[in-house]
């Protein structure tokens, strides 16, 4: 009996170990039939070249990168990390993940302290140079700060750029600091692989309509737009273009892109800051309910208490209780003003 129990125990243990081995193998980078190797990345001493995947990627810099957004239809995330420090920068190396739009891509990127650095093969360099310098593109898009996006007609882009050639277009001068908080959208072109977006201009929604600022004409980059206090001249869109921009704005779509890991696992990642429109509306409605409760109903308690207690007659210092009522009134006023402000936004 003991032997049988011992055999059952050993067999169960071996079976469990085998199952665990099979389950763990893909995530560990090796399966039972053959070892799967992940790409090993190495950084050159001068940090300008990354080698891996049988290719050599060199550091890519361009002033246009300040206006570029990486917006591929999928992300490919390599398993092995790289100890990285940007070229020419002093500091500590950090372990970073390398990404590209697809496996075996000619352009890879990595993020160090929240800033993206691009490395390219020769073919990738040619592709990006062509993308940045060409005047035309097959696809244009309008995107907002949360990376919601919508496809835009090429002729609308042409019409926007024509504002700078048409001397009669009404203009408005704005300080960069005043523009920063305004509702704004980037308009620009996509590259042929539809991986990268380059902002060519900005649309600002101001009190009397939409205004356009061409980053190309002004030789600006998006990332430097608000770096220092400058005065920008904005061109007002005519009614037809304003209507088209309004329609595009209404059709902005949240984008979810699949992230494919080197081990084959895939999941969708949201490019948006906000998860869901419905969830956002729910949160806004909840805020109103909470504000009514916290800003208008709750302060009634100290107000009533502060007014009723001194009338009870047994208090030596009724004035203290009036202070409570005054504090409650201030609380109520601020709650009311906040609700009015939110209602008018």
């Amino acid at each position: 009996m003991r032997k049988r129990l011992f055999c059952i125990f050993v067999c169960s243990f071996l079976l469990l170990a085998a199952c665990l081995g099979v389950a763990a193998a893909p995530s560990a980078g090796a399966d039972l039939l053959g070892k799967q190797d992940y790409i090993e990345w190495t950084l050159s001493e001068d940090r300008t070249t990354i080698t891996g995947n049988g290719r050599s990627y060199t550091y890519y810099t361009s002033r246009h990168l300040g206006s570029m957004v990486i917006l591929p239809e999928s992300y490919y995330r390599y398993a092995n990390e790289l100890d990285f420090l940007p070229p020419g920068k002093e500091g500590a190396y950090a372990s970073v993940q390398i990404e590209s739009a697809r496996r075996d891509a000619e352009i890879i990127w990595l993020s160090y302290e929240g800033v993206f650095f691009i490395y390219v093969t020769e073919s990738g360099r040619t592709h990006l140079d062509f993308f940045f310098n060409s005047k035309a593109a097959s696809e244009y898009r309008l995107i907002d700060d949360n990376y919601n996006q919508v496809e835009m007609d090429g002729d609308l882009m042409t019409s926007l750029n024509a504002l700078y050639q048409w001397s009669q277009a009404p203009t408005k001068n704005y300080k960069s600091t005043a523009l920063e908080g305004k509702p704004q959208y980037r308009v620009g072109k996509m590259d042929d692989h539809e991986d990268f977006f380059l902002a060519c201009g900005m649309i600002f929604s101001l009190a009397d309509g939409y205004y356009y600022l061409s980053l190309v004409e002004e030789e600006l980059t998006y990332s430097r737009l608000y770096d220092s206090e400058q005065i920008y001249t904005l061109y007002k869109l005519d009614d037809a273009d304003a209507e088209r921009i309004g329609l595009l704005r209404d059709n902005l779509e949240r984008v979810r892109v699949p992230v494919i890991y080197e081990d084959g696992i895939e999941y969708e990642e949201d490019l948006n800051r906000f998860e869901d429109d419905e969830e956002g509306e729910g949160a806004a409605a909840l805020l109103l309910v909470l504000l009514v409760l916290f800003g208008l109903v709750t302060p009634l308690v100290p107000i009533i208490l502060g007014l009723v207690m001194p009338l009870s007659g047994h208090l030596k210092h009724p004035k203290h209780w009036y202070a409570l009522a005054i504090a409650g009134v201030l609380w109520l006023i601020v709650g009311g003003v906040l609700l009015i402000l939110l209602a008018t936004v």
Binding site: T177, A178, E180, G181, K182, P183, S205, F274, G280, E281, A283, A284, A285, L286, L287, L288, L290, L291, F294, G295, T298, P299, P302, L305, M309, H314, L315, K316, H317, H320, W321, A323, L324, A327, G328, L330, W331, V334, G335, V337, L338, L341, L342, T344, V345
Partner: protein, 290 residues
């Protein structure tokens, strides 16, 4: 009379507090020098036994220093509220209440004294951090004695927390933040007064113990409610506010955020006033010194 009462209360705490302050400041200078030595040693290519010992010594010292910081705050707390209890509810209370002073003046003097010393305690901790930031960074070629750039970076980092506020709104949010923290301190002080007073009124013996027990219980309830309000509902409110202000003008956005913070601050002050009124009422009517 208020000034006299405040002066005596102030002197009582000052007699002990300067020892805490000088020890902690001295301790932070030693700690900062040790940290400076440790950083310099760790930068060396070869790690010697002496440098390893220095690292261990520094780690032990920092542990002891943090304990001392906590102990300093506890001692200040005990000094302040022991004085409140003994003056009002121990045998000394008979003498206190025979003084030709109104009870509200007595309470107000205690409250003012406690606020002053608690603010001083916060400033002392900030001063210790400042000493570390000034002395600990190793010397460089540009800064052979004190490298002030680390402190500048820390200050910039602190203000960067309010970075989303917009340039013009930064002072507004800092003032509001300070008012909010002051309100929390006032609320906490009034809560301790209230609990000690209730303990003294309710219990015939072991009044202080009853006060501590009540404070412990009330504090748990208040912390629970606070965590619910600030953690869950506060998070939802901020998320909802973001949703509201996504397309709002910058001025409206700043205004709404400032008003929301002011609303919470006023709620805290109102609660503090309520606790103060209740304590005053109990002192006036139900004081049991038997």
């Amino acid at each position: 009379m208020f000034r006299k009462l405040l002066k005596y209360d102030f002197k009582f705490v000052a007699r002990w507090w300067w020892i805490i302050a000088t020890s902690l400041l001295g301790g932070s200078v030693i700690g900062a020098l040790l940290l400076r030595g440790t950083i310099a040693t760790m930068g060396a290519e070869e790690v010697s036994t002496a440098s390893a010992l220095l690292v261990i010594l520094f780690a032990l010292y920092i542990f002891a220093f943090v304990l001392a910081l906590v102990a300093g705050s506890i001692v200040t707390f005990v000094l302040l509220y022991w004085r409140f209890y003994s003056h009002f509810f121990s045998d000394e209370g008979y003498l206190t209440f025979t003084l030709p002073v109104k009870r509200r003046t007595l309470l107000l003097a205690k409250l003012a004294n406690e606020m002053i010393w608690q603010i001083a305690q916060v400033l002392l901790i900030l001063a210790c951090v400042l000493v570390f930031l000034l002395i600990a960074p190793p010397a460089t070629q540009e800064h052979p004695v004190i490298d002030i750039t680390v402190l500048q970076g820390a200050v910039r980092g602190f203000f960067a927390i309010f970075g989303g506020a917009g340039d013009g709104a930064l002072p507004l949010f800092i003032i509001e933040g300070a008012l909010f923290l002051l309100g929390l301190l006032l609320f906490q002080t009034c809560l301790v007064h209230f609990c000690i007073t209730i303990g003294a009124v309710v219990a015939k013996k072991h009044k202080l113990l009853a006060g501590i027990g009540i404070y412990y219980g009330v504090n748990m309830v208040v912390s629970g409610i606070g965590q619910l309000l600030f953690g869950l509902l506060g998070g939802l409110m901020v998320y909802g506010l973001e949703e509201f202000l996504v397309n709002a003008e910058a001025s409206a956005s700043i205004g709404a955020r400032a008003l929301l913070l002011l609303l919470v601050t006023l709620a805290v002050y109102t609660l503090a006033v309520l606790l103060y009124c209740l304590t005053q009422d109990k002192l006036d009517h139900k004081l049991n010194l038997a």
